[in-house]
Symmetry: C2
Subunit: 401 residues, 2 copies
């Protein structure tokens, strides 16, 4: 195309169109603490191929179909069984929609609920993917204060009341209650109940994102908010990305029926990938729980390794960090006034260590210049130890510690 | 959930939310002429598994990543090579976005261009998936008259002028120029050039949907509209669904860079399924063109079988039908005033024959009660012959012929 400047799309874009995103790839560090990748060596690739072969021999003709938009029915049944066993959630396969990861269901739920200017309540720092989608739909994102037990109910209620006082009743509360991304905390039962009580009191929905629930290294599970609810105000999303492989793009959601029907109306691209769904279904039927045990051994070791390395290299710096009971990351907080955001790309160039700073997760878009999410899923324990040492060196070099 | 009526989502839905879609499955006929499925027996499932095994051995670590939103890079390179070889389109892998089928890219392009009330120009009858998405975004869909060579340029220009006269300049023209869905015609070169000239004259974009291009049984390919354009006004989508399997959900798009960047901004769910992309890439690298030859032998036989059956059972009825040079369906037109829409479900119950009527594809939402799209991809030739006979019987029973 020689003369693309002869025609301009600029006048044609919808007023509400997403802002452009630059084409191209992002540089990854050798010590890639930036993204919540799982351990690559433990992905059950051979098991998935075996499952696929068995599944295609049985259900191969389904590949010729434009499948029901809710997705491959046997996998929806497996999700139903998993939710009943693990999360106290009792639904039918008709009440499950499979989607590309958990991000596609989250996108559809946001699209279904949010008009520009609508208030959505979140943690002060939360999953950057959801934050990006909320912004793309023009949400007025209001973060509430959190401590080591998650969202503080008084802060939630004050935020709700302030919005209502300004005639902007919040639409919903977005929450990752277990191994919260990026802060790593888990909300205990009392906090979950308090959050639910507030939602019901004020007529606000909850979007519960439980995508890390299976990655528990210590302690015991806390009941899902969905299971505590008797009024039908909670939509719930989960994912196989964290326990099998992100590249499978296999997530799911359930919600009260009026919400499900709206989400189905918004769904594009037809059913989730049947090819991947068949592989996940056949593998998970026999091996899901043993595989989870196996990867949690690995995750526990990696988390402990990163905690030990932080003890060694950051104990004297005034930094603090979360000690999560599971998940793929922890939250490093450098002393107030420190800026590790400006130097992020320089640290990546110098030390080959990648991280995301608090700003990427900040509800207000500006806080958290002294905070970083450090993911320990991808690198080996030896690399984690090296990487944290190199990170401390780089911070020292740039005058941060 | 016992008391879902205690909480109501109704007040929370966005003003612009999609209308609800009923949960559940649609009944399929034994003689399933309703949906453009490919031949199930010819899907290269073993080849895809073999390709996947080889690809995962080489690139398996990519499954641990949240891949670049544009999708698995080697498959984008393969698309680039295919577009250059087959469609005279010369782009780079950076200018390709992979998506779930072609419907996801189409959805993103529409989302990027259409505000409620915006005029979009289409064929009088066109792909129901695109029609549904246009409606979902509130487009003012204006169908133009078509003949056996596709959109009639005078009708296109009149429609454009009428819209401009009402201060509603059209945003874009949606067109499946080859083996048009559902009518089966292919636009010859002169028509394509005329359409492009009109788009350029009035500053309107074109969305060229080329998803059936590989399924040619007779004749030779006509140049893509994209390749004729020197101004950068065309976005182009294609798909592997029709040549490999719909369940792979593997489509692609290219467009001028400003459009690509907006589409990337609107993309949710991250990259297309890496698992399926690896399988498609490795299989297609060695076997795509031989496989296309093989399935086109089958498709040609099935098309000829349906044409012969129509000759046998509908020649005396006053019906006419298209004789497409490729693709998976033809377009049956019963005499004006005939209604085969009202009886559709009864025909399915009585004869086990499924079809979609013109109304499902009508730009105006009401025309085509006497028309049906008949797909010949899924059933065997013997079933096609039986099914057309049963369809004629049923039409006779219900007094249509």
């Amino acid at each position: 195309m020689d003369n693309t400047d002869q025609f301009s799309f600029e006048d044609l874009f919808a007023q509400n169109a997403a802002p452009p995103r630059t084409i191209g790839t992002t540089k990854r560090g050798k010590y890639d603490f930036a993204v919540a990748y799982p351990d690559p060596g433990s992905m059950p690739l051979d098991g998935l191929i075996d499952g696929l072969r068995i599944g295609l021999a049985e259900d191969g003709n389904d590949m010729a179909l434009y499948y029901n938009s809710q997705g491959y029915a046997p996998l929806r049944q497996l999700v139903v069984d998993k939710l009943a066993r693990d999360r106290g959630i009792y639904v039918t396969p008709e009440e499950i929609i499979l989607g590309s990861g958990s991000s596609a269901p989250i996108h559809m739920i946001i699209e279904t609920l949010v008009d520009p200017g609508d208030v959505v309540i979140t943690a002060d720092f939360f999953y950057a993917g959801t934050l990006g989608t909320l912004r793309r739909f023009g949400a007025d994102v209001r973060g509430v204060d959190c401590d080591q037990e998650g969202m503080i109910p008084d802060s939630v209620e004050t935020t709700i009341q302030n919005a209502i006082a300004a005639a902007k009743k919040p639409k919903f509360i977005y929450i990752v209650p277990t191994f919260q991304n990026p802060q790593g905390w888990t909300m205990p039962l009392a906090r979950r109940q308090a959050l639910l009580d507030l939602a019901q009191k004020y007529g606000i929905a909850i979007l519960e994102d439980d995508c890390y629930i299976d990655l528990r290294y210590d302690g015991t599970d806390v009941a899902s908010i969905y299971s505590l609810d008797e009024t039908g105000c909670v939509a719930y999303v989960g994912s196989f990305s964290k326990i099998l492989a992100p590249g499978l793009r296999m997530g799911y959601m359930t919600a009260p029926r009026p919400m499900l029907e709206r989400v189905l109306g918004a769904k594009s691209g037809g059913a989730v990938n049947t090819f991947a769904a068949i592989a996940v279904h056949r593998f998970a039927t026999d091996h899901m729980y043993s595989h989870i045990e196996e990867i949690n051994e690995i995750g526990r070791t990696k988390r402990n390794t990163m905690l030990a390395a932080l003890d060694e290299h950051f104990a004297e710096t005034g930094a603090t960090w979360s000690k999560p009971d599971g998940g793929l990351y922890l939250w490093l907080t450098m002393p107030a006034g420190t800026d590790i955001t400006t130097i992020r790309d320089q640290v990546l160039d110098r030390a080959d260590v990648g991280y995301l700073t608090g700003v990427s997760f900040a509800a207000d878009g500006v806080s958290g210049r002294n905070c970083a999410r450090l993911c320990y899923g991808y690198n080996s324990p030896a690399e984690i130890t090296q990487g944290i040492a190199l990170l401390a060196d780089a911070f020292r070099h740039f005058g941060v510690i």
